[in-house]
Assembly symmetry: C2
Homo-oligomer: 187 residues x 2
DNA sequence: TTCGCCCTACCAAGTGTTAGATAGGGGTTG
DNA sequence: CAACCCCTATCTAACACTTGGTAGGGCGAA
């Protein structure tokens, strides 16, 4: 059995947090989903704040891996950028879940500092990747690529949030399509 | 204290919910802010769900009034549209608060149905107004004005969320500026 | 034995909510 | 007029439950 409880906790905690946020994440439900008791979580994580930070950190690590793979596997930066919104789409496909970073951004005022740090890192990872892709695609000059990247990130996050509030993935698709029509995202 | 406790409760509850969400809204803190006891809230509202719905309803009623006034007072629809993001900016100016609708969209899974309804109405009010302004300005054809309006609404909400996560209003301004540069918002 | 992993059994604080009481004001009625 | 009753608005006190967190022990494997 070894230590895959820790991984199971991280995975379940991530799912719960993407549905109910950090404040909606509680040890008893989490433990039940993993198949252990609440107190056992403390053997793997020091506190709720520590768990939250670990979940957020793992979240951006996974996202970074996925983005780097996407960039490397795409035939060109433009087609990589075209697929970027799919990452957010998949959250919605998974029981209408929200990006962990978006949920925690809303909860900003009530987040332990160690969690906030990881949330901000997620945003930075995304913006840096989009910025890199924009420059590589020749779609932005290096001096304002970060601003454009941030606009894309914010717009896609907004689209996901609005689509979630309607529980309607097709609304997400329509919003992304509108962004493309305006040239905010590549066609 | 105040001659009208019900209004004071609504106002404080709105502030709290824009900072901590529906789940972060609790009767004891709310009552303390108003200057009464938690149990007294039940004289004015039937339950937390009822209070939440009343707050969300008042929120979109106020927003609708403000939008209608803005439309009527502007010299033309374009200048009205230009000022639209200021409504979201003001939330950030008020202690980095989020749009109530955005916060509650994140909390979608844990919201009582009566609250969800009001949240969706807020979105509809906004989209309808933007759509009307776009058509009046000749910036969109009636058959796709709603799609464009929704894109604007989602993008502005996203910008507010990202700016909040950094506690940085200038980031909101920069995002809006990027949207303008792309023609998503009028110059 | 020691250590990793998990358990049972708690605890204090906080949650929405209810019951029952109190004080004051405004009518209606004897 | 005064006695009565109801309504409004608030209170205190408690309920049942959930929360994150702690103390200490059991058990299998190295």
């Amino acid at each position: 059995m070894t230590t895959n409880s820790k991984e199971a906790i991280l995975a379940s905690a991530r799912q719960i947090a993407q549905s109910h946020g950090y404040s909606g994440l509680n040890f008893r439900d989490l433990a039940a989903q993993v198949g252990i008791k609440a107190a056992s979580i403390y053997h793997h994580f020091p506190s709720k704040a520590g768990l939250g930070a670990a979940v957020a950190r793992r979240y951006w690590e996974d996202t970074k891996s996925e983005l780097d793979t996407l960039f490397a596997d795409s035939r060109d930066p433009i087609s990589a950028l075209r697929e970027y919104p799919k990452i957010f789409r998949r959250s919605l496909e998974s029981d209408n879940r929200l990006c962990l970073c978006s949920f925690m951004s809303a909860e900003y005022d009530d987040l332990p500092h160690e969690v906030t740090v990881e949330v901000q890192t997620f945003a930075e990872i995304n913006v840096a990747w989009i910025s890199k892709a924009l420059v590589a695609a020749g779609a932005a000059r290096p001096e304002n690529s970060e601003a454009q990247a941030r606009a894309i990130f914010a717009a896609v996050a907004g689209a996901q949030l609005i689509a979630r509030s309607r529980s309607d993935i097709s609304m997400f698709d329509a919003l992304i399509e509108s962004y493309r029509a305006k040239g905010l995202l590549p066609d």
